[in-house]
């Protein structure tokens, strides 16, 4: 029986207790931040920030709205990161989440490129030169596994308004649909349950009162053809085929370059 988190944006007050609970439970250190003219901090997800709340001000029809969105792993059924992970560090948990065995991570960074939600983050250790990816494991990190204890994830546990719920995915789909219906009845014509069907069904679903784009969520997220090819065609052939090895290395190079460039861009933005 698959489990999931249901995040109801209409009940979220962005108190960010979830953000702190995530760091607390997962023993993640605080980052040194600055106020950049917004409540939102840290500026981005990172190897030590697996969950952050986004704040967005919009003014449709001259009426101010302040929108809050959760940024963290969406735990896809059709998960690009799992498909491309060459070391099986990323894998599907029996309850459906994308779990992670950090010991197996080689730091290749394919998952970073393959994620349609731009979630995984990696840092290279300056002393050892070893890179490791990090992201939300839905509290299944070995040694810190709440799910194995039968508990809800730390973020859900701390949420004061029940904007976050953890339960059987089927139940939460029903609950989410009901909630969407009542929002539509209240006049939110574009209300929808995001993640019910996206990428084979997400294990973190959102109740939205408006179109996903208003919340800056990818509309109809897809895994790139290259990612699909990687897992479904190239990987099975294996490394025995020399030519493909070269191709693989070439791909590796390209992905790594792209990651490095993107990290540089991000640093530029953060520093501005």
């Amino acid at each position: 029986m698959a489990k999931a988190i249901l995040y109801d944006t209409t009940k979220c007050t962005a108190c960010r207790a979830c953000q702190v609970a995530c760091k607390g439970w997962n023993e993640l250190p605080a980052e040194v931040t600055t106020n950049r003219g917004t409540y939102e901090n840290p500026a981005d997800l990172s190897p030590t920030t697996w969950l952050k709340m986004k704040f967005r001000e919009i003014e449709p029809g001259g009426k101010v709205r302040w929108l809050f969105t959760r940024r963290s792993c969406m735990h896809c059924t059709d998960a690009g990161c799992v498909k491309v992970c060459p070391s099986k560090a990323l894998y599907h948990h029996e309850l459906g989440f994308v779990a992670y065995n950090k010991d197996l991570c080689t730091g290749c960074g394919y998952c970073i490129e393959a994620c349609p939600f731009d979630v995984p983050r990696s840092d290279r250790n300056l002393l050892t030169g070893i890179a490791k990816m990090d992201k939300c494991t839905l509290c299944t990190t070995p040694g810190l596994d709440r799910i194995a204890e039968g508990w809800e994830p730390a973020c859900v546990k701390t949420c004061p308004t029940n904007a976050l719920q953890y339960d059987d995915r089927d139940k939460l789909v029903a609950e989410g649909r009901k909630r969407v219906d009542s929002l539509r009845d209240a006049g939110w014509a574009n209300a929808n349950l995001y993640g019910e069907n996206e990428l084979g069904g997400l294990h973190v679903m959102y109740v939205l009162d408006d179109h996903p784009s208003v919340y800056e969520l990818p509309v109809n997220p897809q895994i790139s053809a290259a990612t699909v090819a990687w897992q479904d065609a190239i990987q099975p052939l294996g490394w025995a085929v020399g030519g493909l090895t070269v191709l693989g290395l070439g791909l590796n190079y390209m992905v790594a370059r792209a990651n490095i460039n993107r990290e540089k861009e991000k640093k530029d933005v953060a520093g501005s």
């Binding site: 962005a14 040194v32 600055t34 106020n35 917004t38 001000e57 709205r65 004061p160």
Partner: protein, 806 residues
Amino acid sequence: MTNHWIDIRNSDCIMIIGSNAAENHPISFKWVTKAMEKGAKLISVDPRFTRTSSKADIYAPMRSGCDIAFIGGMINYILNDMERNPGNYNMEYVTQYTNAALIINSNFEFDDGLFGEVKDGKYTTDAKNTWKYGDTKTPAADPTLKDPNCVFQLMKKHFSRYDADTVCNITGTPKDTYLQVCQTYTATGQKGKAGTIMYAMGTTQHTYGTQNIRGYAILQLLLANMGVSGGGINALRGTSNVQGSTDMCLLAHILPGYLNVPMESDADLDTYIKRSGKNPDATITPQGLAGDKSSNWWGNSKKYVVSLLKAWYGDSAQTANDFGFHYLPKCDPAKNYTHIGMFEAMGEGKIKGLWCWGQNPAVGGPNSNGEREALGNLDWLVSADIWLNETAEFWNRPGADAASINTEVFVLPAACSYEKEGSISNSGRWAQWRYKAVNPPGVALPDLEIMNLVMLKIKELYQADSSAPGREAVTNLVWNYGDVNADMVAREVNGYDLTTGKLAASFGSLKDDGTTSSGNWLYCNQYTEEDGNKCARRGAVDAHPKEIGLYSNWSWCWPVNRRIIYNRASVNLDGVPWDSEHPVILDYDSEKKWQGDVPDGGWAPINQAKEGEKYLPFIMKPEGIARIWGYGRVDGPLPEVYEPWESPLDRNLMSGTKTNPCAFIGKYRNERSTPSEYPYVGTTYRCTEHWQTGIMTRNLPWLVELMPEMYVEMDEVLAAEKGITAGDKVVVYNARGEVNAVAVVTKRFQPLQVGGKTIHHIGVLNHWGYSGMSTGDSGNILTPHVGDANTTIPEYKTFLCNVRRA
């Protein structure tokens, strides 16, 4: 709170005004959300669009400091509508349970913003007498509400000036939004419907803060929302045990249990009881209402005072020595003992020592530059806190010359709440027992142990010095705790029957003859022979017949575990609940009495009782009914619009009286800002991520990560005018000082149109200081040393300022 946190879920409409509950009381939104799931409407009234507003059905912007205009307009709306559509209101409640029908002194006059003659910042006694009932003992009532001198008609006349256009011109609220608020909230006036008001320091911290709350009280009484489930006036208390600290008297004007503080003129106990107004002679019995008996519960106050003196002085408190009444310190009526008054006196060098216990006035007090300087006039200062705070380090603050400050500072490291056992009283009056989780670090001690050690030493010193002034007050004080713990204090607070040595059952058993003791009559019943420490109860089943969320076996609440106070107003004259879905008390039976909550007096419904025993529902009032017309305040029987001490306007748009004539105006280093130099309305507030003066949160890396720096908020128009973009370093300044901060430029503040002017707000955070991990300027550098006419709470919420790029 008249009600309690869980009860918010039973509301049909929640108005959050003067509070940013989602950000500053996040857990409250658990219950707000539950109410909204069932269809309740949420209204957010605030100068700034907050996280609370983001969840609201209606957001109404309002210029800071304009609550009385805003609420006064709603009252006007209701009074007019009530005459046109009485069927939409609970007229039985309004006429029988409030003083709407009572006849007021025919000499009452209101003219140009004043309720009679003011001399030296005070209304004259003659003026105040005209605010009273025509017959002060047995006032007449006109339940038809037609008499021109009845409260209803006087109020109608007063608030007729508060039409929507006038109101919106003052508050800056768009008129259509305003009318939507009036209509939506007023719908809770229907029988069986309930609206609640959640408020906090946005309401109280004004020179007319008490009258702001009076406005809410009038509104709630006209809509029959008091005493009912889902209704009430709900003060969201600021810090986790502030309710307990008020109950236990950590305020200058009261003894434990809201008993009046004695004054120098109180020659003896009886004089004090008589002057306090809390005595049987104060009983008022309205004539012509269905109810004919006022219980005037405060008439019992002598029993509570004598029991308190017995708890404090034991065998040294006897009939012969007036139960040790003369041991109590007495106040000088000419002095102001509140926070501002104390710092004014400190500034003048009249106070030599200060003990700050879990308090950090160098950041939390108004006019920080002045108060920090005043601390330098002390000979000694003690700071008991869990962190080294700005007050303890005031001599080492930026810009101070440490060598020229001679104050000796003692720091006592205290245990935090997880490191000690005891009770915490929440906003809903629930006293909940907590246990120690870990030992305090290093030499830190629980407050109780610090207090015990200090008091034992003081007693020893007084014992040794036969000439010490007031010696007996200390040497006769019972202090026999030995190895002190919270449990023995809880029992002492509850009190004893001294003839049997057994715990007192409830305040109903306390006596004025010295045979009972109680450290706080309101908490009598928290610890009984039958049930032990009731604060420690964890009964998670709601035993109320309609499961309205009382959870009466979870902890204990004052008074006598009554979860919703004034609950006898939740039933009609026949005892039938107005709201059958959420009744508070129900099913009266002469044998079994009431079911549900602990009733506010177990008497029969008015229509079933005998003549002379028809008890009126508001038992703490001398007249037994609620005061829409509240003549006990120093600044008038009804709220009236005044401008804040520092106003962006050159006049009051409602009258010729610009500011509250009775406000407390400090003199010590209290420069006043003018609108020509400082045209913007400053207001201070908090964010979710930090707590009060920040000393508990600015030292926690995860919270500092979220909100790392002092910031201010402003609208996009003002920012553009000043060339400020989001993230810029700016300086906010006024006549009292300047504050460096990061600018958050936001759509959530919008310029408001007020009296033909465009008004901009600047929101100033009040969490930062110079001590700890995350440091920054304190917002209170900008706030003035002026206070509310009744309470002297500082006007933190409205002042003038200007802004420039740093």
